[in-house]
Amino acid sequence: MLGKIVKNHVGQFAILLIVTTFLCACGGQSIGLKTEFKQANMEIGKTSKSDIVQYFGLPQKVLKDDSGRDHFFYEGATRLVGLCVGCGDVNQGPGLIPSLINQGIVSEGAEYVFDPSGILVAKFESK
């Protein structure tokens, strides 16, 4: 039965396959968030704030502690802010389960701490 359907609609399936392949290739340019924290091998006492920004780009959050040290926080992934299936409005919320999964990945980032002269004095990278 299934074979008969496929045989009768082989043309449509071929078009669907081509369109699907085309659409998959149309993801466009990426945001470019870098998350290879371990591989970057940033060195305590040597790496500077500008080295980190040059490599990873701007952090997602910056805090200054009471000792004048800057803490740069980098997230482990982009945030899923919208999702729609078979609809046109991508700005709808992605739903609870995808949000929770995404939040877990986002949290697996890194924290780099710099002394007031801008040298890396501590790093906390996700394992």
Binding site: C26, G28, I31, G32, V62, C87, V90
Partner: protein
Amino acid sequence: MFRFVFGVCAVFLSACATMQPPLSGEPANSLKSGKAVVAFFDGVEQIKYSRDIYLVLAVAKEASYSTYSGLWNSNADVSGIHTTELSKIGIQAKSLYEALSPEEIAEIQPILKTMDVSSRMKASNNSNELASEKTAPHLKQKLKDMLLSKGFDYLFFITWSGYNLDVPALGISPRETLDTTYSIYDLNRDSLLWNGSVRAFEQVDLGEATAKEYIEKNDLSGLKKEVGRMISEKYKIRTDHGINSTSVGQYIGLQDNVAAVKQGE
């Protein structure tokens, strides 16, 4: 059908820019003849990147935020851009960051922060109430006295909602948006002269770079270039198919609205 399309366009355009009517007559002339100080305050200090991901039967949107807090003095740079553009349309404008000493700026920075809705939303538990504020904040006495003592008659207090760069799916060009709010104060009369928000949107060519690379590499050269371009473009009267865009000067009432002049003839 034409009326329907016109109505939809009107609703769409009104959502892009909410503001008071343009100034005219004596207030507009006084604004042009007086001395103005331009103070941009960045309460956001954040870039928002977003991207659509086409999943054949679904579309997802991902986003990431980058902060340049402590890495770029956007207040001074963007005040300078607005000052240059306002000077071109006849305002005797000077940037706050050139008019005051670093000590004086440090002294009034907390006042500017309290005037900025974004900053107050960060610190407030009731952000919804602040977000729905329709009126510009009251001018603080200390700030007013300092600016009057420097010989200024008007304050252009400018804020924004932050720079956004969106990368749509299906090969559509990336686009950037910037919502800027202008509050013009008459320092002598201690009153708000004009208030309005203007949205700028442009297409941006990232080349082969990712969004973050293009915007953030070489000490944020992309961000500085795009912010400068978007602000400058919004001050220009652009023409397409014989129809003029509305410039910041026209919104405020500092430049003639060509369409309105023609209608009145």
